[in-house]
Amino acid sequence: MTKHINIHSVESLGALDGPGLRTVVFLTGCPLRCQYCHNPDTWMLGSGIDYSYEELISQVLKMKPYFKNGGGVTFSGGEPLMQSDVLIPIAKRLKSEGIHIALDTAGVLWNDSIKALLQLVDLVLLDVKHTDHTTFTELTKGTLDDTLFFLEQLKKYQKPYWIRQVIVPTINNVQQQVLTLEKMTRSPLREKIELLPFHKTGLYKWHALGLACPLEKIPEPTTSEMYLLSALISDTDHRGRMSS
């Protein structure tokens, strides 16, 4: 029997989700319901296209000529951990082809197959939605503790990671929140913190799904606002040590 993985879409030229040029595979299924989600059409597990393992693997391998300079494949979503069991054989195969694998996750799930998958992954892009427990839950319908537990696992299994957070005006565009994020996620395994501006280009997808986006009226952060927030943590070197 052919095994399948359910995929929302594949982007062949991804320069924003991990190092180098990457094929970004957006999987369906997500346990969170983030108010600013720009891919609400990936929420439902199974709502995308079934790819056989071979189909997906061959599509990724076709892009191998572009993976020099640190590139590779990024599994994103949705929440890719929702399909961790089917990702394991795919990741094994890609690993054997020498492909760099990144996992773009909110880290709110944990089980044995996720643990096994983690061993095959080269880099984790951990999206920490908010550093305040209550706001985290309001914003995502999940819990911050899950993400923090996942972070502990990354440290335990010595996985390099990047911390990412989407900056949404009125919700987390506060200096203290960003400084807390830096402190909360600090470890020698952390290679980078990326603050990403909230953008509304995915708004049409909410409408297409007949949903109202709770943040519809919130403006996108300005370039200068993003610059100032990023500057707060930019003199922290990537391992988390403050430079003098």
Binding site: V10, E11, S12, G20, L21, Q59, M63, Y66, N69
Partner: protein, 743 residues
């Protein structure tokens, strides 16, 4: 042979025979550093540039042509020497007696020259009209011979843009020979060749070549006289960088005075000049800022080059291009790089003088190019959109170290090979002709073999492919016939005597055929094969449209089932062309290149089985059809990379447009990622790519407010244009192309 002008150069074969390649290989200084050594423009450069920009604005206000000399026929000695009044020039020489004033060159065809003058409010003088009453032009010669079938193919637009009424171009004189050897030595060599030839049996070939040599020598003499008017004696070799650039430019200037060719490439001069620059820098003759100033001045002169053409012609080749193509970089066969400081200096002119379409900067890309140079190219691409890239690792094994690019993508050994240019055939139209059994619904003409219309229900792929084969075979035969006639007549009535004088006497010739609308044809065949395509029959019994039911794999998504059709078609086409012998035993080649004519070709083509509506533009070159490459930018490039260069030796053109944010969120990332894309694409044996890094919004704004973007340059199809020089339809077509975004 020796000469004091060569003091300090490493000795070699180049001293015993004419061999610029050997001179470069023995003397070049590979450069692995970055761009920090480059100098800004001098005040003098900036003043001259400002003056040029003012003239350009005036030209634009006058409808695209500043002035025309309607009294003389353009040639080397037709005009008084041209100077830019009120400015000190470093590199001398204008095409006529004043900057941007155009000369008339009716040898391609008097009608075109007359129409062009009239289109811009001038009248061709009586003396020229009279003169050409008693002279046969290339155009007249061709039409004396054209068959009924060829006329129909031309009229219906199955073949369009043939160089039968204008200069064929695509010949690159080795202008460097003038600087290295001086004209007297070149004349002596040609005289020797002619003398040797006179011992041969005097039959057609020998007589033709002998007469050509006579004309070559005649024009080398005229070239000396032309230079002398500016006070320069080019009978002897150039002594320093300034003279090397000047001598070389005189050769190029002579060529564009004498020929109004479609594409008049420069060749590969930057690394040649670098050898002089290195010697001058070492001896303290010039400083870096002087060298850059010389190059900048030279490039301003190239940007001033103009030809007089009709508005019709501009519809095919938009933006008034000359394709002053300069091949930059690359590697040599010994594994060393041909990148020198002057490779950087040429690209740096885009910073010093602003972005511009000319000269057509063409970087010969190799995986082994110095990393700093790769990054600098990418940086300049992102900043200016004025660079095209071609695969040196693919071409070098075929053409050796010293090849250039004629026009956009046509490789040839400089001074050793030339090309008979042949525009292109509209293959989607050929498919419609095949389905309608030799009837063109757009013109109502019966063309080619007359067979039943394929009107019986759902189209079957095997039947259609077999039918297409019949028409392609017939088309190829007619195409070769037409080309033989054209180039016989061009050699007879509009021979490129000066450019050919800067070639070896025995040259290898290519005959370059072309395909337009490849992606439309491939998708049409894919639709017939994988979806259900039912022809719509009009009241006269001909197919006027198609009903397409179901999905089909489209070219441009890295899907072999679709891309294989592109491989099949290109391979079949060149094989068929080779069935028919060529004039002067030229080697058949094929390009997938449309310039901007993809708009015109589309206009002349009815609805196609891929679902494309009648009269809508094709995709340019080998590009996937607009918006159909939905698997992302790299999948799109991978599809193009599959088209075999072996079948398409005259080039496979691809235009790649990407938004800056897609490449990364800062300049370093964008640069690194663009380098990685180029390495990845060319690593798959791809041939060519134009790179545009720009926002679609900016183009829309530029369309509505051209005054805000006077220098906005974009790559279209093997060359760059100033966006403001495109007409509205062409601008809209550029906008409809796929702009790859990560979302």
């Amino acid at each position: 042979m020796t000469n004091t002008a060569w003091n300090g150069f490493t000795q070699g074969e180049w001293q015993t025979c004419i061999d610029v390649n050997n001179f470069i290989i023995t003397n070049r200084s590979p450069f692995y550093g970055n761009e920090t050594f480059l100098e800004p423009p001098t005040q003098r450069t900036t003043d001259l540039l400002n003056h040029f920009n003012t003239l350009k604005n005036e030209e634009l206000q006058r409808g695209g042509v500043l002035d025309i000399d309607t009294e003389q026929v353009s040639s080397l000695l037709s005009y008084e020497k041209g100077l830019i009044k009120g400015h000190r020039e470093l590199i001398y020489g204008l095409q006529t007696d004043a900057p941007l004033k155009r000369g008339v060159n009716p040898f391609g065809g008097i009608r075109m020259a007359r129409q062009a003058c009239e289109a811009y409010g001038h009248q061709l003088s009586d003396s020229i009209e009279d003169h050409f009453k008693y002279k046969t032009t290339h155009n007249e010669g061709v039409f004396r011979i054209y068959s009924e079938d060829i006329r129909k193919l031309r009229k219906s637009g199955v073949i369009t843009g043939l160089p039968d009424a204008y200069g064929r171009g695509r010949v690159i004189g080795d202008y460097r020979r003038i600087a290295l050897y001086g004209v007297d030595h070149l004349i002596a060599e040609k005289e020797l060749d002619k003398k040797n030839l006179s011992k041969d049996t005097m039959l057609e070939q020998t007589i033709q070549l002998s007469e050509e040599l006579y004309r070559q020598i005649d024009f080398l003499r005229k070239l000396k006289e032309m230079a002398l008017a500016y006070g320069h004696d080019i009978s002897v070799p150039a002594k320093n960088s300034l003279e090397a650039v000047q001598w070389t430019y005189y050769g190029y200037l002579g060529a564009i005075k004498e020929q109004n060719g479609a594409a008049m490439s420069l060749g590969r001069v930057s690394t040649f000049f670098d050898i002089y620059a290195e010697r001058d820098l070492a001896q303290g003759v010039f400083l870096e800022i002087d060298i850059q100033e010389i190059f900048d001045d030279f490039i301003i002169k190239l940007r001033m080059a103009r030809q007089l053409r009709t508005p019709d012609y501009n519809e095919l080749f938009a933006g008034d291009p000359l394709w002053i193509t300069e091949a930059i970089g690359g590697m040599s066969e010994d594994g060393k790089t041909l990148v020198t400081k002057s490779s950087f200096r040429f690209l740096h002119s885009l910073t010093n003088l602003g972005a511009a379409p000319e000269p057509n900067m063409t970087v010969l890309w190799s995986e082994d190019l110095p990393v700093a140079f790769k990054k600098y190219c990418a940086k300049q691409s992102i900043a200016t959109d004025a660079i095209q890239y071609e695969n040196d690792d693919l071409m070098r094994p075929i053409y050796g170290n010293d090849y250039g690019i004629a026009c956009c993508v046509s490789a040839m050994r400089i001074g050793k090979e030339m090309q008979f240019f042949g525009a292109r055939s509209n293959l989607p139209k050929a498919l419609l002709l095949a389905l309608n059994g030799g009837y063109d619904t757009m013109t109502g003409m019966a063309i080619g073999p007359q067979l039943p219309v394929m009107a019986d229900g759902i189209l079957d792929y095997e039947d259609v492919r077999a039918r297409l084969d019949i028409y392609l075979e017939w088309l190829c035969e007619q195409y070769v016939q037409a080309m033989n006639i054209i180039h016989y007549m061009h050699d007879k009535y509009a021979y490129e005597k000066l450019q050919m004088a800067l070639h070896d006497t025995e040259v290898h010739r290519y005959m370059a055929f072309g395909i337009a609308g490849l992606s439309v044809l491939v998708d049409s065949l894919s639709a017939i094969k994988y979806a259900t395509v039912r022809p719509v029959i009009d009241d006269q019994g001909y197919i006027s449209d198609f009903n397409v039911v179901g999905d089909y794999p489209m070219y441009g998504n890295d899907l072999d089932v679709a891309d294989d059709i592109a491989v099949d078609i290109t391979t079949a086409f060149i094989e068929k062309l080779k069935h028919y012998p060529t004039y002067r035993n030229a080697e058949h080649t094929l390009s997938i290149l449309t310039i901007t004519s993809n708009v015109v070709y589309g206009k002349k083509t009815g609805a196609t089985p891929d679902g494309r509506k009648a009269e809508t533009p094709f995709a340019p070159g080998a590009n996937p059809m607009h918006g159909r490459d939905s698997n992302g930018a790299l999948a799109s490039l991978n599809s193009v990379a599959k088209i075999p260069y072996d079948a398409c030796r005259d080039g496979v053109s691809c235009t790649f447009s990407v938004t800056p944010a897609t490449l990364g969120n800062n300049e370093i990332m964008q640069t690194d990622n663009l380098v990685t894309i180029l390495d990845g694409y060319f690593g798959q044996q791809a041939h060519h790519v134009n790179v545009n890094v720009l926002n679609r919004d900016m183009l829309i704004d530029a369309m509505n407010h051209p005054e805000k973007y006077p220098t906005l340059t974009i790559r279209v199809s093997g060359y760059a244009v100033n966006f403001n020089r495109l007409n509205r339809a062409q601008q809209e077509e550029v906008l409809s192309r796929t702009y790859h975004q990560a979302l």
